[in-house]
């Protein structure tokens, strides 16, 4: 069975290490915050200028001056700190953020990522995505393996305008955990009940399957 969004987030959360500073993108990545493992202390960075992002406020406690990069109301936690956007992207560019999790429309077998523009159709802008993918030490993409038409989003080469080149390290999709290696997509884990053949079928880029591929454990 393919994972749902919550399960993708849950699987990604297993990649967190104690002491990590983490930037979570909009969508599935945001959900990762709900599954931080016991005993692991991570600090969330929001690129609009907050380190130590807390949960959403209780009703009535929302503060218009306190939002995340998705423009949602959030809260602080003890030890939070605010800063300006230049410092925020400065710490990202300097490699101080250990892990970035974000969504993608396409990922190539070289680790290129496209997630900001569909020519002639979508012109929202890249926001902070280009800065994040260019600079974060470790980038995990949370995505569906295929688009609604069933076409693979893991390609030999991206067809959409790129957000960044050779930057994605790992992909957690609804079907698989995949590492991006020099020679292609290396299959690490399968979603429970999903076969290697199905993953092969739905991966347009080069998929490397070496040895027994374990099922994900939750």
């Amino acid at each position: 069975m393919a994972l749902n969004k919550e399960q993708i987030a849950q699987r990604i959360a297993k990649e967190l290490r104690d002491g990590y500073y983490v930037n979570l993108g909009i969508g599935i990545p945001t959900l990762v915050a709900n599954y931080i493992p016991e005993g692991i202390n991570v600090t969330l960075q929001s690129e609009n200028g907050l380190l130590g992002m807390g949960p959403f406020p209780f009703e009535g406690d929302e503060n218009p001056d306190l939002i995340n990069a998705g423009k949602q109301t959030v809260t602080t936690i003890p030890g939070s700190v605010f800063f300006d956007s230049a410092m925020s992207f400065g710490m990202i560019r300097a490699g101080k953020v250990d892990l970035t999790v974000l969504g993608a429309m396409e990922v190539s077998e070289q680790g290129d990522i496209a997630n900001w523009k569909i020519p002639g159709k979508m012109v929202k802008g890249m926001g902070g995505a280009m800065d994040l993918v260019a600079a974060a030490k470790n980038i995990i993409v949370a995505m569906m393996h295929t688009n609604p038409k069933g076409e693979s989003k893991l390609l030999a080469k991206c067809t959409l305008p790129l957000t960044g080149v050779r930057c994605v390290k790992k992909i957690v999709s609804d079907l698989a955990v995949i590492e991006v290696k020099a020679d292609g997509f290396r299959l690490l884990e399968r979603a429970p009940g999903v076969t290697v053949d199905e993953i092969k079928l739905k991966t347009a880029g080069k998929l490397i399957v070496a040895g027994e591929i374990p099922e994900m454990v939750f």
Binding site: F56, E59, I67, K71, T73, F82, A86, V123, G125, L162
Partner: protein, 232 residues
């Protein structure tokens, strides 16, 4: 030398058609509501706006869009604005989309007298087209020019009559960077105090960067995405 002006209308008095203006704020958070309203009222045209976002359809910079006051928009993300998309696709509005960190750093560069900066964002993408790519220590960087703007309009939480500013929470965002970057910087504040009332250790923007200041009124502080959790 008195930096204090009476209000938004006086503050923007000499902004004319064709000006290049920076607006602080991230989404609707920390935007200079009073000055935006005054520019909308005065209906100044052919503006080039540098701002992370373009407001929403009926608030913030969106109000200027609706009145077709903008010739060009320089932003990183404009996804909340249908009128924006319409003007862009119809060719009425010139748009330059740039990475958010690059936007921030190009403001800072202007405030720090650095003519251009090397950044990582956009290498290998269409953002790099026509720009210098240079390798330092095995990594490729893009050379990005400091912004050159006629006016910077920012919103702070508190300010004193010397122009010293303090921002609150994530309403800080681009405000201190743009405050440093304008040839003329206009600050509207929620509370204007006398020199000495702000702790000199806790000021985000030194007054040397600020040319005009006033206490704004009737802040709406609209929230784009009210997101809450349930009390147990």
């Amino acid at each position: 030398m008195n930096k204090v002006v009476k209000g938004a209308e006086a503050a923007i008095n000499d902004i004319n058609d064709g000006a290049v203006i920076m607006f602080g704020g991230f989404g609707l958070c920390g935007i200079p509501e009073n000055c935006i309203a005054a520019i909308v009222k005065k209906n100044i045209k052919n503006l080039t706006c540098i701002s992370n976002n373009a407001g929403v359809d009926d608030f913030g910079i969106g109000l200027m869009l609706y009145q077709r006051q903008l010739k060009k928009m320089i932003a990183s993300y404009v996804g909340e604005n249908a009128e924006f998309e319409r003007q862009l696709l119809s060719g009425e509005l010139e748009v330059e989309l740039i990475p958010q960190g690059t936007l921030a750093t190009r403001c800072m560069a202007a405030g720090y007298g650095m003519p251009a900066v090397y950044v990582l964002a956009g290498v290998g993408t269409e953002v790099a087209e026509g720009k210098e790519v240079r390798n330092f220590n095995g990594k490729n960087y893009l050379l990005e020019a400091a912004f050159d703007s006629d006016f910077a309009i920012v919103k702070a939480w508190k300010g004193d009559t010397n122009g010293n500013l303090i921002y609150k929470d994530t309403a800080r965002n681009f405000n201190p960077l743009m405050a440093m970057a304008g040839k003329i910087t206009i600050a509207e504040v929620e509370e204007l105090v006398q020199p000495g009332e702000l702790d000199p250790n806790m000021i985000h923007t030194p007054g040397i960067y600020v040319h005009r200041i006033f206490q704004g009124t009737n802040y709406e502080k609209r929230i784009e995405n009210v997101t809450m959790r349930k009390r147990n």
